[in-house]
């Protein structure tokens, strides 16, 4: 239950703009299976940057990132894409759903990409995930016909489709009103408690953070708490 799934060792990252500005300094943390973690900090403290480094999308850093004990440094772009596909689910501040596809198809896409199950089975599983999040009725609509909270729940369903090791969120409630953010939070909490899903959510909503199991607080590129 408490095996380490993601670990960083002395991660350092800076921007050259025009002088070197460090944004992540000496980040060492480890995330265990089943944890519900929030990352908080002021704007510009590097919390989103950290999330993108942990998500393998940003490869321009020094130090080590290990996912399930496997080094991410030195992997090719295509290999990292496979890692993201299999092990990481994403929820962003904006939903980033593809309006060309139905809600159901949006949820199915990463599953189809992984190709672990047949298309029919992926469809069933997607439908299950939508049902779990209470939006199965919208399955055949286009994303632009949905409300903000519904869209974000679809995004969560999409993040969950490949049963990822960890779901990462970049201010998933940042664009929602109180009612909808509560719904999204409850969804996350349910995932954590009922399904043992590991979650790492970046937020600047302290109330949100207070309700998670573990809070990592960042300041000027360093972890100051957690």
């Amino acid at each position: 239950m408490s095996s380490t799934i993601l670990q960083t060792k002395n991660i350092y990252k800076s921007f050259q703009d025009p002088v070197e500005i460090p944004v992540l300094i000496d980040i060492s943390l480890s995330i265990n299976q089943g944890e519900f973690i929030s990352v908080i900090g002021k704007s510009g403290c590097g919390k989103s940057t950290l999330l993108y480094v942990l998500s393998t999308m940003d490869t321009d850093y020094q130090g080590e990132l290990l996912i399930e004990g496997e080094r991410m440094r030195g992997k090719s772009e295509a290999e990292l894409a496979i890692v993201r596909n299999q092990k990481i689910g994403f929820v962003f501040q904006f939903h980033y759903l593809l309006n060309e596809f139905s809600v159901l198809k949006n949820v199915m896409l990463p599953g189809l990409k992984l190709g672990k199950y047949a298309a029919r089975e992926i469809e069933d599983r997607s439908y299950e995930k939508l049902k779990m999040l209470g939006i199965e009725k919208e399955a055949l609509k286009k994303p632009n016909q949905l409300s903000g909270g519904q869209k974000q729940r679809v995004a969560i369903a999409r993040a969950m489709i490949n049963d990822p090791l960890i779901v990462m969120g970049d201010e998933p409630t940042g664009n929602l009103d109180k009612k909808n953010s509560d719904i999204v939070f409850e969804t996350f909490q349910e995932l954590a408690t009922q399904f043992g899903q590991t979650l790492l959510i970046v937020t600047h909503d302290n109330e949100f953070a207070a309700r998670t199991q573990r809070t990592i607080e960042m300041q000027d590129g360093r972890i100051v708490k957690g």
Binding site: A81, R84, N85, Q86, F92, F94, K113, G115
Partner: protein, 419 residues
């Protein structure tokens, strides 16, 4: 790799912007249509113009030329052997126009595998008598059957039947120009005078129209027997042997061989009509360059539309990458979009191109110089369809290459953070 999934995504992106896609595809369709139409028409015209000369011209002609002997008597004298002998003012000797031993030569040629047909011919200088006026002219003594088989004689006989040359004794097919001057109708009897002074009456059985007025004003046709009779020669007298080969390009080489073998003069079609080949190749070159230019322009259209699509779909590309699609997958998606525009537009273009060719083929085109042609000529060669199809795929692939590469290099972090 799940190609069907990538194709599925490509299709969704395409259909989401179906108007733009349609415009791009129409660009390709239009250019392929014009490419096919232009080349078919141009090459049909080329074939027609070439045919004007090439169909009627033997690939190799054997004859006896009037020229000075290559070896003068002094060169044969033993005591001047080893000297440079200069002889001024050399004149041609009086040589008969007749080809000696023509019967065995023709038999030999007919058994040659490279030869598709041999037709004997007599060229006779005559005067056409119109009252007190005498016009110079040429009567070609031919074997009407062979002449028709090898050189489509029938196509140029606009009045009467060419076979009457065989059936009607002392008959002639007059050049259109000659007939007009002589006011001769079919069935009339005209009088000609040979260079030796003999006067002979011939019955007009048809008109001949080559499309080249200068020829029609001078030349007429009669059977070999009639021509031999009016020249007062025996039935083995022949001045020309016309050879048609299976492969036109062998003509210069074989002409040299026959010249040596039969001790006659031989001229090949390439030497006799070099200007036609130059004309055709330049016309084809122009049509190809216009066609390819059209395709390149269509390619730029696709390039623009794909670029625009990529800017619009930045978010989609970013999320595809975030959820596990690699740069190569994204590249393939956009390449598939470009290629499907090319294949769809190209296929329609080929169909429309064929339609355009058929339409051109039915436009009336009557010209007195080309009696057998009733509509504009079209060459329905499969070659142009293959080239057009290949080029449409190739240009759209190239047009999609750079936008696709750009899409594959989009950094999802910068898009997602930028919001």
């Amino acid at each position: 790799m799940k190609y069907s999934l990538l194709l599925d995504i490509a299709r969704a992106l395409l259909l989401a912007r179906w108007k733009q896609t349609l415009v791009a595809a129409i660009g390709v369709t239009f250019s392929i249509t014009m490419f096919i139409g232009l080349l078919s028409f141009m090459s049909g015209l080329n074939d027609l113009l070439d045919g004007l000369i090439l169909n009627r011209t033997p690939h190799i002609r054997l004859y006896n030329d009037v020229k000075a002997s290559g070896k003068q008597p002094v060169d044969l004298a033993a005591e001047y052997n080893g000297y440079y002998n200069f002889v001024h003012s050399v004149k041609p000797k009086n040589r008969r126009q007749e080809i000696y031993n023509n019967t065995p030569i023709i038999a030999k040629l007919k058994s040659d595998a490279a030869v598709s047909g041999v037709a004997p011919k007599i060229v006779a200088q005559v005067f056409y008598n119109i009252g007190v006026v005498s016009l110079t002219g040429i009567i070609n003594g031919i074997d009407p059957q062979e002449e028709n088989r090898l050189f489509r004689f029938q196509d140029y006989v606009t009045g009467g039947n060419y076979q009457d040359l065989i059936h009607v004794p002392n008959s002639i097919i007059l050049g259109k120009g000659v007939a007009e001057k002589m006011l001769a109708d079919i069935g009339d009897v005209i009088q000609i005078t040979t260079p030796k002074g003999a006067r002979i009456q011939l019955k007009v059985v048809g008109y001949f129209e080559s499309g080249l007025q200068e020829i029609d004003k001078i030349q007429s046709y009669a059977s070999i027997g009639t021509t031999q009779k009016l020249l007062g020669e025996s039935d083995i007298y022949i001045t020309d042997i016309q050879i048609k080969l299976k492969d036109l390009s062998l003509a210069p080489e074989l002409a040299r061989q026959y010249e040596k073998l039969f001790d006659v003069d031989a001229i090949d079609i390439q030497t006799a009509n070099s200007q036609y080949e130059t004309g055709s190749s330049i016309r084809s070159l122009i049509s190809y360059s216009v066609g390819i230019t059209l395709l390149i322009v269509a390619g730029f259209g696709i390039y623009n539309i794909l670029n625009m699509m990529i800017y619009e779909k930045m978010d989609s590309i970013a999320i595809l990458k975030a959820t596990g699609f690699s740069g190569r997958d994204v590249n393939r998606i956009f390449t598939a979009i470009a290629l499907s525009i090319g294949i769809f537009g190209g296929a329609l273009g080929l169909a429309f191109g064929f339609g355009l060719s058929v339409i051109i083929d039915h436009i009336p085109f009557n010209t007195p110089s080309l009696p057998t042609i009733k509509t504009y000529p079209i060459n329905y060669s499969l070659k142009y369809y293959l080239i057009g199809g290949m080029f449409s795929v190739l240009t759209t692939y190239l047009a999609g290459y750079f936008p696709s590469r750009k899409a594959s290099r989009i950094d999802p972090v910068s898009i997602i953070r930028g919001k």
